[in-house]
């Protein structure tokens, strides 16, 4: 590091080479924004699809069906499922979406029984469950959906030919809750094709996480020979299967993320190299004044670090703002992957910028330090 009294000197070099600094910062910020956007998608996919040892939710779907429009199961399966040992609760669910394809603005209606919402693990930011219970066309909507569509309690939400009244807005850690409108099961069954007694899936809570696979197998065996056989998996595995396309896209985007890091390295290294080249005379003067070579090298590295961190800071700030205000959610088949530049993404982005800043500054710093003062003045 450098003595504290030298930091203003580095700051002046950065600030007073305005054009060079702004262009470099612009490039770094753009590349860091791209990196954070890719990271936000990756962490969204991970949050939605990576299973943990504490998983307790199973999704029972119609076998060989991949879309909520085609997965139809008799609602009365719920009694048989509830009777299977290890099952804690069963929530029949009718799902209607306004768009089956991958999209950033999908509205997913989840028709559920009253008990399912009372037992659900979310908190209300506005409105009340009592209002939802009272009104047959009421909906509790996820925070992300509400912000994206500008919805408030009392507003009407219309999508997929269905209109509902907002009775509450929920916040939840579960990505699948953040982009849905919970409505009454009976209401959605009537409103979407008048299919009473038919549901899309069952969400099953298991008492013991270690029993998850055993319970899933028991459910599928129970209906193996029925007219509507089932495919049961953990909720995360179910999402992973549905969003395979998105996962592949995000994996490819990972290369873009790596590319943007290489771009940042090249930008910083180029800017600092040119700066050192331009300032050969200044460095020679500083050596004449008694600045030791290693101090000049450290000043260059700190300048490189400063430029890289500043650009990175702008980049993550832009990424965070856009993802926060845009409330982006990738949805496919009614399942959601939240795209949010979280604290971890920002911390990782800035840490990488710091490492790149130091790394990119090393070579120019060595060049500045190895400068022969007498030669430098002869060259001027």
């Amino acid at each position: 590091m450098i003595p504290v009294r030298m930091f203003p000197l580095v700051g002046k070099y950065i600030v007073r080479h305005r054009v060079r600094t702004l262009l470099t910062l612009g490039g770094i910020a753009t590349a860091m924004f791209l990196f954070c956007a890719v990271q936000a998608m990756r962490s969204g996919v991970a949050a939605a699809t990576q299973e943990t040892a504490s998983e307790t939710t199973l999704v029972v779907y119609r076998e060989n069906r991949f879309c909520p429009f085609t997965s139809e199961l008799p609602q009365d399966y719920s009694r048989a499922i509830a009777a299977i040992p290890g099952v804690k609760t069963v929530a029949p669910m009718r799902i209607v979406v306004n768009n089956c394809r991958a999209s950033l603005d999908v509205v997913t209606f989840r028709g559920v029984e009253e008990a399912a919402l009372h037992d659900a693990d979310f908190r209300l930011l506005g409105g009340s469950l009592a209002d939802w219970t009272r009104r047959h066309d009421a909906a509790i909507v996820g925070e992300r959906l509400a912000e994206r569509r500008g919805l408030k309690v009392g507003d009407i939400l219309s999508a997929a030919g269905i209109s509902v009244s907002i009775a509450g807005i929920l916040a939840s850690d579960n990505p699948q809750d953040q982009n849905v409108a919970y409505v009454h099961l009976g209401f959605i069954q009537r409103a979407a094709g008048n299919k009473q007694g038919i549901v899309t899936q069952f969400n099953v809570e298991v008492a013991d996480p270690s029993q998850l696979d055993a319970v899933a197998s028991a459910i599928d065996e129970s209906f193996a020979s029925s007219q509507a056989p089932t495919w049961t998996s953990s909720e995360k595995a179910f999402v992973a299967r549905a969003v395979t396309d998105i996962v592949q896209l995000v994996e490819f985007a990972g290369w873009l993320g790596i590319g943007s890091l290489v771009a940042i390295f090249a930008l910083v290294a180029n800017a600092i190299s040119l700066s050192v080249q331009d300032r050969a005379k200044d460095h020679a003067v500083m050596q004449t004044l008694g600045y030791p070579e290693n101090l000049i090298a450290r000043l260059v590295v700190v300048e490189s670090l400063g430029v890289s961190l500043l650009g990175g800071l702008f980049g993550v700030a832009i990424a965070w703002s856009i993802s926060w205000f845009g409330q982006f959610t990738f949805s496919v088949e009614g399942l959601s992957v939240i795209i949010q530049a979280d604290a971890e993404t920002i911390a990782v982005g800035l840490a990488i910028c710091a490492v790149i800043g130091v790394g990119a500054g090393l070579l120019p710093a060595l060049r500045a330090a190895r400068l022969s003062t007498a030669e430098a003045f002869r060259a001027v």
Partner: protein, 230 residues
Amino acid sequence: MAFIECRQLSRTYKRGDQEITPLDRLDLDVEAGEFLALMGPSGSGKTTLLNLIAGIDRPTSGELLVQGRNIASLSRSALAAWRRDHVGYIFQLYNLVPVLTAYENVELPLLLQALSRKECHRRVSAALNMVGIANRHDHYPRQLSGGQEQRVAIARAIVAEPRIIVADEPTGDLDKSSAHDILALLQRLTHEVSCALIMVTHDPRAAEYATRTLHLEKGRLVEQLEEAAT
């Protein structure tokens, strides 16, 4: 014992296959408080000698003693520290840092010393006052005339209170009137700051301000050459 003693001082460079010896077994004594002018044709070794005395270049052979200490034997970092504590350098083309104001340029050598902000400010202000440029302290080099830039460069050279000031053609880029002002200032400073001032110049009128003038030719003092001839 003289303040600065050069004993059989030589400097040889390699340029491609060629060996150039701008300084050849030179002997020279400089006393403290002396204003010495070095004259001679281009390539006579004036700037090389100046750079050796300033500690920014090293002799190929010989001894360079300052207050009895052979600075040629110092390590690179020790030599940097020695320059910081003992030398002020004034360049022909001023060599101010363009993105720093006059005040900040003068402050530059003091950043190497653990001084309080107050003390630092006092010394910078005193140096700027001494060279008569205090009213331009917040100007950038591009906003100053050549004479004003050189005054700032002189303030930068004296702010750390060095014992040796070296000046490489300090008036070479200035008009007659500015040159006179700068030389008069340097003359005054040798008395006020009490340091040895060694100035390289091509101009005999500039050399008149010095207390002693020496001539170099082919890397040796003309006086030495004449002695050798007789």
